[in-house]
């Protein structure tokens, strides 16, 4: 398969360099027009915060991948990057890389499920722009299948790998369900928002947002269908919440030991979870000593993330097994495409001979006998070609051994290809 590709990603470039080459959807559309015009007959382009990749089937078999990189650098008008910041892929390697990306094992956060959706979007854009023929579409379908199988058949996506989700994982070990629980998220920044979204996804009974800037609290509260509490009134209402998630940018503690001790008293000993996702911390860690208080900060939650990453790493061989499995299926299908013209050639060759022979006796036998002979020779040719055809297909479908398929087709072509009778026989 003559697929080529190039990528700049978290393995090869800094975040600033990746940001500089990031393509918006409109930019991808424009860039695909250039690729289609000058370099590739089919392909796709994906651009996320961690990678920008170009893959496709070249118009010219001698196309140097560096030209794709130069085209991208020129398109984005970026200086300071060179071909050294790119990784290049060809044929099997290219397919393996596409599948690895889709399965999440090439992601910065191992097993990240977001990339699966991003790849699907990139594939769809390519299809919408008529930049994907039969082979490319088959690659897309198989890549999506690899992503789905990786999630459903392995543990590559299991366990929390973000601080906010790890916090939810701990809370799940304290309360059996979130439905009858109330939570407050202090701080409406990125981490606070993520935690609020996770709580909402878990079906929290009641969610409240508090933030120094009221408008931000209101905005997040709208997103999670929650309520708001003014930051200055926070301490008066804290005892109403079973879960307190704090993720502000405050320079010091916003909740001290005595504040939480008062909350515990007012809750009459009912359990309370404090998840301090801020750096520097928002809550005095001494509160962990209080009975019925569960306190976690970024460090303690980090150990959960480390464990989950290790568990995901153990799943890599299983995902690679799926990738290999699907690569075999894809190449089997692709090799079949290669042998179909050869099979047709043999069949045409035999059919031509058969018809020639029938023509020779057309006026020497009765019409009825001619019909019988015609049918009989058709059956004969069919039976003679049945085994070679099946064998050739089997070789093609057996896997990745493209060379074996090429050898078979080459031998058959040279044996059966009709030649001009005047043409001298070539000697090897």
């Amino acid at each position: 398969m003559n697929i080529i590709g190039t990528t700049i990603n978290h393995h090869t470039a800094s975040i600033e360099q990746r940001e500089a080459l990031h393509l918006s959807k409109n930019e991808i559309t424009g860039f695909i027009d250039i690729l289609r015009r000058e370099y590739l007959s089919d392909g796709f382009v994906i651009s996320t915060c961690n990678r920008t990749e170009i893959f496709g089937l070249p118009m010219d078999n001698d196309l140097n991948v560096a030209k794709l990189q130069d085209a991208l650098l020129e398109f984005k008008q970026v200086d300071g990057l060179s071909n050294k910041n790119f990784l290049n892929f060809f044929s099997c390697g290219a397919i393996k890389h596409i599948f690895s990306v889709t399965s999440g094992i090439d992601s910065l956060i191992l097993g990240d499920s977001q990339i699966h959706g991003q790849m699907k979007e990139a594939f769809q854009l390519s299809v919408d722009m008529n930049f994907a023929g039969t082979v490319m579409r088959r690659i897309f379908d198989t890549a999506v299948k690899v992503g789905k199988r990786s999630i459903s058949e392995t543990g590559i996506g299991e366990g929390a790998v973000s601080v906010s989700y790890a916090a939810i994982q701990v809370v799940e070990k304290i309360f059996s369900s979130f439905e009858n629980r109330s939570a407050i998220v202090i701080g409406a920044g990125e981490t606070g928002e993520l935690a609020a979204m996770h709580l909402k996804d878990k079906g929290i009974g009641k969610i409240t947002i508090s933030n120094r800037t009221l408008s931000k609290a209101e905005e997040l509260a709208r997103k999670v269908h929650g309520e708001i509490i003014h930051f200055d009134d926070l301490k008066d209402y804290l005892h109403n919440f079973d879960i307190i998630v704090s993720a502000t940018a405050a320079p010091g503690y916003i909740l001290g030991y005595d504040d939480i001790k008062t909350v515990v008293k007012r809750r009459r000993g009912n359990t309370i979870c404090l998840m301090d996702l801020a750096l520097p911390r928002d809550i005095d860690p001494a509160v962990a000593k209080l009975d019925g208080v569960f306190y976690n900060d970024i460090d303690s939650l980090g150990s959960i993330i480390d464990q989950n990453i290790k568990r995901r790493e153990k799943e890599i061989p299983a995902v690679e097994g799926i990738i290999l499995d699907e690569m075999q299926n894809l190449f089997a299908w692709y090799n079949t495409l290669e042998v179909i013209p050869t099979i047709k050639k043999i069949r045409d060759f035999f059919e031509d001979i058969r018809q020639e022979e029938i023509e020779k006796i057309r006026y020497k036998v009765h019409e009825e006998d001619l019909k019988k002979l015609d049918e009989m020779t058709k059956r004969l040719v069919g039976r003679l070609l049945h085994n070679p055809t099946i064998r050739l297909r089997n070789v093609a479908e057996s896997g990745l051994n493209y060379q074996e398929v090429a050898n078979y087709t080459s031998v058959i072509t040279s044996l059966f290809e009709p030649q001009n009778e005047n043409e001298p026989v070539k000697k090897s």
Partner: protein, 275 residues
């Protein structure tokens, strides 16, 4: 039939040991293949145990509740059966090893020391005795299971408090669920103990001429009943929740065991059935 009873008597501890092993392996390995197998295995063992109890009752013409070692096999069955119902209703499957361990111990003691007993006093064939003993045993099974869940609560509580997010943290259910299972077991256990005491109070003076309210077994059972009763009363009136109630449950269980052992050591009770 006696041969079958003997075979089952030898087989049952082996079966409980196997179930314990399967639950323990599943606790550590979390193999999806074992999730249903262990439940089916427990169900089959319970059926075999039921058959053993029936065969015993038919062959010896009395239910196996007249000696300590007969009672141990019923206790083993009660604990395993109660756990089976809990697992079915809560779908909490990771705690089985800790509870089945008690069934294994009780059944092993019974199988080792149980004796064929055909001649039992007429008083011990009374139906009220059956109800009295069965409800008492199920009551003790309830508080045993409650104590196990309370201990698991305490372990999980410490794991979360100390940020030790390892295997135990991952495999044990939430604190709220463990507390719920423990409290429900105590409630059921306490209710059944109450029934046993009520039946005993009505039946014992009629059955035993030397009945005395100062009998050690009555006093210790009363003490156990009072401990759990007061604990439940405090929980529902003043709010004894979480770690405090779980500690109470464990202490209550230890007190019950000590009390029962003490009453056994004190001896000389009318309440000893066959010695």
């Amino acid at each position: 039939m006696l041969e079958t009873i003997r075979i089952l008597n030898t087989t049952l501890p082996a079966l409980y040991l196997a179930i314990f092993a399967v639950y323990l392996i599943d606790f550590f390995k979390d193999k999806p293949a074992l999730h249903n197998i262990k439940r089916i295995f427990l169900f089959v063992t319970l059926i075999i145990h039921t058959a053993y109890l029936l065969f015993w009752t038919i062959h010896f013409d009395h239910p196996p509740i007249t000696t300590k070692f007969e009672i141990f096999t019923v206790l083993a069955f009660s604990v395993a059966f109660s756990y089976f119902l809990i697992e079915l209703s809560s779908d909490i499957r990771a705690t089985g090893a800790f509870i089945i361990l008690f069934s294994l111990i009780f059944q092993a003691i019974s199988s080792l020391f149980i004796e064929d007993l055909i001649d039992v006093p007429e008083v011990l064939r009374n139906r009220l005795l059956g109800l009295h003993v069965i409800s008492a045993l199920l009551g003790y099974a309830g508080i045993t299971i409650s104590a196990v869940y309370s201990m698991l609560f305490t372990i999980q509580y410490k794991r979360i408090k100390l940020n030790q997010f390892g295997l135990v943290f991952n495999r044990l259910p939430s604190l709220e669920m463990l507390e719920k299972l423990s409290v429900n077991s105590i409630i059921v256990g306490f209710a059944l103990l109450t029934i046993a005491i009520v039946i005993g109070t009505v039946w014992l003076p009629q059955a035993f001429p030397d009945f005395s309210l100062l009998d050690p077994k009555l006093l210790t059972t009363g003490a156990v009943w009072l401990i759990y009763g007061s604990g439940l009363a405090v929980r529902f009136t003043s709010g004894l929740y979480g770690k405090k109630f779980m500690t109470f449950s464990v202490i209550g269980f230890v007190a019950a065991i000590v009390a029962l052992a003490a009453s056994g050591i004190m001896g000389s009770s009318f309440h000893q059935f066959n010695k």
